[in-house]
């Protein structure tokens, strides 16, 4: 059978439907928990996916990622606190709708729009991933090197306020990836006499350290913030009202989907940017006076765009190995840990059935999200009341289990705590952890590509020919320069705005 249809047949079996339901349930709770993000949920889950086959691991993680993008709407609507940064627009529009006594409509709009976002994002993944992966077949070591450089520069320029800090973060990640035995020769680097470091920095340990521990410390910091929880009482007919309001606006659905898909494909961006762009667009273009003051229409756009991002972010992840968002980076890590490399091989080789099962699952999990979400709304309303002083130590203990489980090594737990404290300090200094983690992920790909390209250049006697005068190398060099120039302009603009504010 063709792997595309094999994937669809697989995903409709009870095994994968059940995995999606579990992923959606856990993801919804993860999104709703105060201070908990999809990335944190995925990093804590990651070590336990080792016991699964790679397809099941991907399906579970994909469902969790998408559902967390819905779950974050619950605290956003009920306590005006975004469960994740992607729910900032939802916190504005959704909470205003809640204050009008329409909490059920707000949560159901988030659910319906999120499910629709999964469909459209999943469709983009299905249609665009394979052709893009076919291009990667033409990539030799120099192209792979420049793709890696582009991934790092675009991530550095789009995350955080400072381009310089983004670049430094990416270089820090690359440095961390060089710890342990060198890939090209058996020389040990940066082990400092510790045998535990000879095997290198374990990816999962670093991911948990960089993504989860600083969030736990942030929970401790912000736990005194008093929150008013809006009352939630189910209203008969609310679901039909939401479905009518949503499905009669095809142009809005199309625009929000396109925003989510485009932002999702661009590496290093993700849900927060997509949701805000889509929300701005609906504020600008809608003739409805209620938009911006608490309306279903105003809530559809950010929620739909946010969920379209989740599958769309997998397009560069699966085809080029450059994650479109932080949660996609964790899913990429899962792939790599299962010994599966991104690129053409995923779509044509022995892994094709796995890839298409995952791709179809992002689409089908839209239905699962709608069904499970309807059953879970009342539970999620209770989840947001869990006090942070109880949640933070529980998350820490789960992080410890995750870090230990990779190599059954207590040293890794200490390393995770160390990375967490480092990430916390870096964040306080204005660094984002995304570029660091991407550097760590891309280091093992970029370094051998650079060394092989240099050997090639030496053999041919021309650096220019190997590094620059190849069409795809030239394209990715141009894209890297563009991303740096773009980042530099944004940085200068931000400095001017800051200076004007100070004046």
């Amino acid at each position: 059978m063709d792997p595309v249809w094999q994937g669809l047949a697989n995903v409709l079996t009870p095994h994968y439907l059940l995995l999606m339901a579990v992923g959606v349930a856990v993801g919804s709770v993860v999104g709703a928990l105060p201070g908990f993000t999809a990335t944190m949920g995925l990093t804590v889950l990651l070590p336990f996916t080792f016991v699964m086959d790679p397809t099941s691991a991907l399906v579970l993680m994909g469902a969790l990622y998408g559902a967390a993008a819905f779950g974050d709407a619950v605290p956003a609507c009920l306590i005006a606190t975004p469960g994740t940064p992607a729910a900032v627009a939802t916190a504005m529009e959704g909470h205003r709708l809640t204050r009008k006594g329409k909490a059920p409509q707000a949560l159901l709009t988030a659910l319906v729009a999120s499910a629709l976002g999964q469909f459209t994002g999943g469709l983009s993944l299905l249609l665009l991933a394979a052709p893009l992966a076919a291009l990667s077949l033409r990539f030799g070591p120099p192209e792979v090197f420049w793709v890696g450089v582009f991934g790092l520069t675009i991530m550095a320029s789009l995350t955080g306020k400072s381009l310089l800090k983004g670049i430094a973060g990416a270089a820090l990640g690359l440095l961390l990836s060089t710890v342990g035995v060198a890939r090209t020769e058996g020389w040990v680097r940066y082990a400092f006499g510790l045998p535990q470091l000879q095997g290198g920095v374990e990816l999962v340990v670093a991911l948990i350290g960089f993504f989860t521990v600083p969030e736990v410390l942030r929970m401790v910091e912000q736990r005194r913030t008093e929150q008013y929880v809006a009352e939630y009482r189910p209203q008969p007919g609310a679901l039909w009202e939401v479905l009518r309001e949503t499905l009669t606006r095809p142009l809005l659905l199309l625009k929000a989907s396109l925003v989510g898909i485009i932002v999702g494909i661009v590496p290093g961006t993700g849900g927060p940017i997509a949701a805000l762009v889509a929300y701005n667009e609906v504020l600008r273009s809608s003739k409805n006076p209620e938009v911006g003051k608490g309306s279903i229409e105003g809530l559809i756009a950010p929620e739909l765009a946010n969920n379209s991002v989740a599958p769309a972010a997998m397009i560069p992840t699966l085809t080029l190995g450059i994650p479109g968002s932080a949660p996609a980076a964790v899913i990429l890590a899962s792939l790599l840990l299962h010994g599966v490399k991104p690129g053409r091989e995923l779509f044509a080789g022995s892994h094709a059935a796995m890839t298409y099962t995952f791709i179809w699952s992002t689409f089908v999990s839209g239905f699962v999200l709608f069904a499970v979400g309807l059953l879970m709304v009342r539970l999620l309303v209770l989840v947001i009341r869990i006090p942070v002083h109880a949640l933070a130590p529980v998350v820490l203990s789960l992080a410890v289990v995750g870090a230990f489980a990779v190599r059954n090594n207590v040293f890794d737990v200490g390393m995770m705590v160390g990375f967490g404290v480092l990430a916390y300090v870096l964040r306080k200094c204005g660094f984002e952890t995304g570029p660091v983690v991407l550097g760590l992920l891309l280091g093992p790909i970029v370094e051998p590509a650079l060394i092989t390209s240099l050997t090639l250049a030496q053999a041919r006697g021309s650096w220019l020919e190997v590094f620059v005068l190849r069409p795809f190398s030239a394209l990715f060099i141009a894209l890297s320069v563009w991303s740096l120039v773009r980042g530099l302009r944004g940085w200068k603009l931000a400095q001017q705005v800051e200076a004007a504010g100070e004046a």
């Binding site: 800090k165 521990v213 942070v388 820490l396 203990s397 410890v400």
Partner: protein
Amino acid sequence: MGAGREVRMNASVVGGLLLLAVAGVAFWGAHGGTPAVWLFPRLAAGVVAVAGLLLTEEGLRRPDRVVLWRSWREGLEVLGFALAAAVYAAALAWLGFWFATALMLAGAAHSLQPRRQPGRLVFWLVVGLALGLGFDALFVGVFGVPLPGGALWGGAPWRPWLP
């Protein structure tokens, strides 16, 4: 340094110096073998060093006094929690996952709750023990993760019954 005073720092200078320290260690540690061994780490260290220099210079020229914590109390609580996490990690092998987790959960939840109530410590200890043993049973029994049983006890109380 009152309890309610904001704690600020020059983030560019602190970040820049941190980068310079990392770059120094990276340059010092990347040696031996052919260029294939040290070229890539030295390139990355070079980028880190240049970024560190530029950031430090920028921070000295235009100090950016960012808020580190809203008060010293908040800062001490965060540092205390980070220290507790480090002690928890160090004590795992000796106390075992279940007991270290119980102590960490009870201690952290009790000290972080908004209003301290002495009687609540017993409650958090019970919750901590239940969760510590529950997680141990789940991860050891179901997922097969060989979590440290603790040199002090030789395992969690339920483990002798593990098939």
